[in-house]
């Protein structure tokens, strides 16, 4: 199966085939759900925050290869980061960490960025920090 050839980088395909941190968190600190099934992608991100630091992140995604891979990579990148540090992770940074995305797929990485912002906002709302 080394012969598989897609428009995606090897790293994207690795995260797509073996997505990290799939699933839900029971009693999460924050949840973000973004996207629209009519447009073909929806991401749900769960985070656990302890002492201002994201200790756990899990996701469920309906979407294409890029949507799933960026979701997976994003959950890896936020772990251990403060909320402020996490908010600085741009969609471009996620795409770069994956070794790039085809131009028509860049919009999928926006989904992960938005899900993270929504989850952090949700956490802040719940914890009364906004």
């Amino acid at each position: 199966m080394a012969e598989t050839k897609t428009p995606y980088s090897e790293k994207v395909m690795d995260h797509f085939r073996n997505p990290r941190n799939v699933g839900v968190i029971e009693n999460p600190s924050g949840v973000g759900k973004v996207g629209n099934p009519v447009c073909g992608d929806v991401m749900e991100l769960f985070i656990k925050v302890e002492a201002g630091i994201i200790t756990e992140a899990r996701f469920r995604t309906f979407g294409c290869g890029a949507a799933i891979a960026t979701s997976s990579m994003m959950t890896e990148m936020v772990k251990g980061k403060t909320l402020e540090e996490a908010l600085e992770i741009s969609n471009k940074a996620v795409a770069e960490a994956l070794g790039g995305l085809p131009p028509v797929k860049m919009h999928c990485s926006v989904l992960a960025e938005e899900a993270l912002q929504a989850a952090i906002e949700d956490y802040r709302k719940r914890s009364g920090t906004v």
Partner: protein, 390 residues
């Protein structure tokens, strides 16, 4: 692990006999078919032989066949060619809602150029609305274009009936038969077609060659102006190797098409039944019976098609999410939306198309893999009501 190719509707491998027939025309018989000397005249002979065979294959006369570079060119030539011979600008063009982009896009272009474009609706099974056509035809459109069979959902349209309606009112009728020539019997007489498009690479012939049938008496402005080739209707040095390849592909189709149709229909039905049974929450798109023998198109709820495609590709199985040429698009298939599939479900659609080298064992492979892949993706889908925790 052998790769399993199940995207014959996108393109087919060239038949070994076709390759063999083409080879001499690259190097020994390479002469320009428009040249007077022997080098040219021997290729001209081959050219006219294939023209005759092609005409015979669809019940036409040789001078009604114009060789083109493929289905897209043929369709563009038909639509624009008719539009541009029309004296008065602003004529109406009727085009079905499920046409290939190679028809719908030239139609959109003509609309920008001042022609009126009317979309013929289809029902939930993908069949065009004959009553709509009947009403519209009285307004004397310049052209009606309805494809013979759809490339995504495989639905075979009532083309003979549409052709009859058009003929009665002397309205020009074009049909895109790219998915049927070589697979179903195609007779321009029975279909009452004035114009008919074909592309060789869909029937084990080479890419880059096809033809447009133009019924005697139909005036058509050329798309590619220049030299005197194709009776001044399509300029460009004749692509003899490819034309000879097309001829051979038609010859093979003539002898194999019928048995292949029966065999593939069996495969198709087995695949449809198997998938509908094994995978919950899925639906077949397009009429089950009025359907190409080799086409299966199914929507799986809660998952997205590209993810399914890529997962199957990891296992060496090639399928499609829609028409190949729009695979880079982000929008749900216009054909599926036209037959009323909700957008979120349309995103989760897979087209499986079989052909000459498809085997029972390959059916087993996909019948095992596809349910597993869908289950895996559903498990990570936020839309799936039965989603399990990670």
């Amino acid at each position: 692990m052998e790769r399993v190719y199940l995207d014959y509707a996108a393109t087919t491998p060239v038949h070994p006999e076709v390759i063999e027939a083409m080879i001499p025309f690259f190097r020994e018989k390479f002469g320009n078919a428009s040249s007077l000397y022997s080098f040219g005249q021997e290729t001209r002979g081959a050219l006219e032989e294939v023209r005759q065979r092609t005409a015979d294959f669809i019940g036409a006369a040789p001078e009604e066949i114009i060789f083109t570079s493929g289905g897209s060119e043929s369709n563009n030539m038909a639509l624009k060619g008719i539009a541009w011979t029309a004296r008065e600008r602003g004529g109406r063009i009727l085009v079905s809602a499920v046409e290939h982009h190679a028809v719908s896009e030239p139609a959109a272009f003509l609309k920008k150029q001042g022609f009126e474009m009317v979309r013929i609706p289809v029902d939930g099974q993908g069949v065009v609305d004959l009553d709509f056509i009947r009403r519209e035809i009285d307004k004397k459109p310049l052209l009606v274009s309805v494809m013979h069979a759809n490339n995504e959902i495989g639905v075979v349209q009532p083309v003979a009936e549409i052709g009859r309606l058009c003929r009665e009112r002397e309205v020009v009728f074009h049909t895109d038969a790219v998915q049927t020539v070589g697979h179903l019997p195609v007779s321009v007489r029975e279909l009452n077609a004035d114009l008919l498009s074909c592309s060789a690479h869909k029937l084990y012939g080479p890419k880059g060659i096809g033809f447009l049938y133009v019924r005697r008496g139909i005036r058509l402005s050329p798309l590619i102006h220049g030299g005197d080739q194709e009776r001044r209707r399509r300029a460009g040095t004749e692509n003899l190797p490819a034309i000879v390849g097309l001829g051979k592909a038609l010859e093979i189709a003539g002898r194999e098409m019928e048995a292949e149709g029966v065999r593939l229909t069996g495969y198709r039905d087995r695949l449809i039944d198997g998938l509908l049974k094994k995978v919950p929450d899925c639906r077949l798109n397009g009429d089950r019976d009025r359907r190409l023998p080799n086409n299966v198109n199914i929507s799986f709820a809660y998952v997205e098609g590209e993810s399914v495609l890529l997962n199957l590709d990891f296992e060496g199985i090639a399928v499609s999410t829609g028409s190949a040429c729009t695979s880079s698009s982000l929008e749900a298939s216009a054909v599926l939306l036209a037959i009323g599939v909700p957008a979120e479900l349309a995103h989760g659609s897979i087209r499986i198309t079989m052909g000459k080298w498809t085997t029972e064992a390959e059916l087993d492979r996909i019948l095992e893999a596809l349910p597993r892949v869908v289950a895996k993706l559903r498990a990570m889908s936020p839309l799936y009501p039965g989603g399990k925790n990670g």
